[in-house]
Symmetry: C2
């Protein structure tokens, strides 16, 4: 195994699309832009491309770092690079910011050509299927007819799965990690709390806060705090923070007393400064809406019959947001359709967040799976 190195300094690129994109929720986007990054080289036969789909708060910046910033490693930098499980010596890897995002692709912060003002809350609802359709057009522009693999975790896993259904002939392999075939009522409930926190923040201004020079910081902060509780397992939280008192004793105040409070406030504050509230709303709705079996009377096997790819499904024992049970539903439905499926249930303590970590067994599974893919 070669020494694992970073892909180094990277720079985002931009693709413009002038052909209208019809949206699942009705209507269309007349024109849009997608910001993306690539790592490694596309081979002459164009058979080594891998698409990485991001989750709720991710972006196109999957690996490497930016020249002008010191601490900007991509969110899956431990996975993608020369000698890493998704080896850029072998594969041409693409990260793309989804439509409706806030990292450069057309989204609520972009100019609405009809009003000459930012879209704000008028940005159309985008679904997992819309994201995949937009990604397919990016693949067209890049001259990629067929992906060696599409991979994603959580909401990204839903995109990987959707790729195999929307464009079965364009995906040879799909890795669906820490994901689910649809949200549970509890998953939707947590999303709804996050949305209500944002929607009821007086600084939200019905989604047009840009014009008011404010940001719904309170709502975004609460939304992220709730999210973080669901990303970590109870045990991981217990091990990491326990009931440790920040000041060694009880203060009898509403200031930070327990370490876990400090962590949540920090995560909430950081997120509220950098993420767009309208994008957060859109992304949680995309999660809620994703349900490929809906059009098949809830029959997931029937829904996945279109898939032609070989699959890797990975879950984590301590993930209670998208528990292993949910991944097994996908596995069973794929196996019932005679698909080739590898399934790994990784014993990692970090809960849902495990999919972002470099757990050795998890990475060994990914390494072996990518190694077997011929390019």
């Amino acid at each position: 195994m070669t020494e694992a190195l970073s892909v180094g300094v990277v720079a985002p690129q931009r693709a413009c699309f002038d052909e209208p994109l019809p949206l699942k929720g009705g209507g269309q986007l007349e024109r849009y832009e997608l910001v993306y990054e690539t790592y490694g080289e596309l081979n002459a036969a164009r058979t080594n491309a891998v698409l990485v789909c991001h989750a709720l708060s991710g972006s196109h910046h999957v690996a490497g770092r930016y020249a002008d910033e010191a601490y900007t490693s991509g969110w899956w930098d431990n996975l993608v690079g020369p000698g890493k499980p998704l080896d850029t010596n072998k594969f041409f890897v693409i990260g793309v910011n989804n439509l409706g995002g806030c990292h450069g692709s057309t989204g609520p912060r972009s100019m609405n050509p009809f009003s000459g003002k930012p879209w704000g809350a008028e940005f159309p609802f985008v679904t997992v299927e819309d994201w995949v359709a937009a990604q397919a057009r990016l693949a067209d522009q890049l001259g990629i007819e067929r992906f060696a693999a599409v991979i994603g975790g959580s909401l990204g896993g839903m995109q990987a799965l959707s790729w195999t259904l929307q464009y079965p002939e364009r995906v040879r392999h799909a890795a669906v990690i820490a994901s689910a075939p649809k949200l549970s009522a509890q998953n939707i409930a947590f999303n709804e709390v996050a949305r209500q926190a944002i929607l009821t923040d007086p600084d939200f201004h019905r989604g047009h806060f840009y014009a008011h020079g404010v940001v719904p910081v309170r709502g975004l902060r609460l939304a992220r705090m709730v999210g973080h509780i669901t990303y970590l397992s109870d045990d991981a939280m217990g091990e990491k923070f326990g009931r440790s008192l920040r000041h060694g004793k009880t203060l009898y105040s509403y200031d930070v007393e327990f370490e876990i409070e400090s962590y949540l406030r920090h995560q909430g504050d950081k997120f509220a400064r950098q993420f767009d509230a309208n994008t957060y709303l859109l992304a949680t709705k995309a999660l809620d809406y994703y349900d490929p079996a809906f059009a098949h009377d809830g029959d997931l096997r029937a829904a996945l019959a279109a898939a032609r790819a070989d699959f890797l499904v990975v879950s984590f024992t301590t993930d209670w947001r998208f528990a292993p049970l949910r991944s097994r539903e996908i596995v069973r439905a794929l196996v019932a359709n005679q698909r080739n499926v590898s399934y790994a249930e990784i014993d990692c303590a970090a809960g849902h967040d495990s999919f972002l970590l470099a757990d050795p067994v998890y990475h060994a599974v990914l390494t072996a799976w990518f190694d077997r893919i011929e390019v």
Copy 2:
């Protein structure tokens, strides 16, 4: 078994205390009032009294109904009454609103004698131990030297447990239901989100919203929505609401789409109209602070050595807020102290809320336990 009947029409009573109550967090309450209700008759020997401790949003109104209101059944009316598991033909049952509450006992809405204005956020922090100390003085006033039993669920269970430690000679039996010896980091995290929702609501006015003629409705509503997610099990939520679409189809809007959203918003709105934000903050802090083992270097067995009561500990298989594991910690520590402990793990689907329901096995356990208590 006699036919189960209601205790009928009840009326709250009020007890005044002029002797200052020292508080665990420092300082004291110079004078205070507790509102309470009683059901059944105190026997001549005064040996049949049972104290019911309430949880986060409960009150003294445990059973029966008020004369002037149609829909005001007590929160544990299915448990307390003639012929019910906690039989008022046998026992004299007391429900009391805790200090700092918002149902009539002295709390943040009460007049601060030092300022002549409502206490608001200046109301002192109250702990489980303070509540129990105040309840003991109520027992004194009522001429009850020793309780036949103290019972409570969730935060109420912590009070029942604390009674056996603070006043071991005054409690013959204690029922600790759906409770825990202390909160986990995850429990604290959920409380912290609820608090931050209230504290950052612009209408909170640092706890003095009474003077502004407003209520931090947004914050209270979010706090309650988060709470309700943790009260129900994932399965119970799935069975009750699933992913049912309210309008039969996807709306692509932020209005209510899924039934679970409707339920949460309804619960949140209802709660925000009637509950006091400062009380909610105080009660979540009382939960966070409760940790009898803290003074014993985390050794729960040592912490519970003072108890003399016979115990019933009950947990529910689907309760993920205070999972059975947490109840078993209490059981093990009590058994290690040679206490008489009955433990029941009830297979009820309703999650933490199960303790409020009339599950037949659960109620059979309670009936048998109370039947064995001599008065």
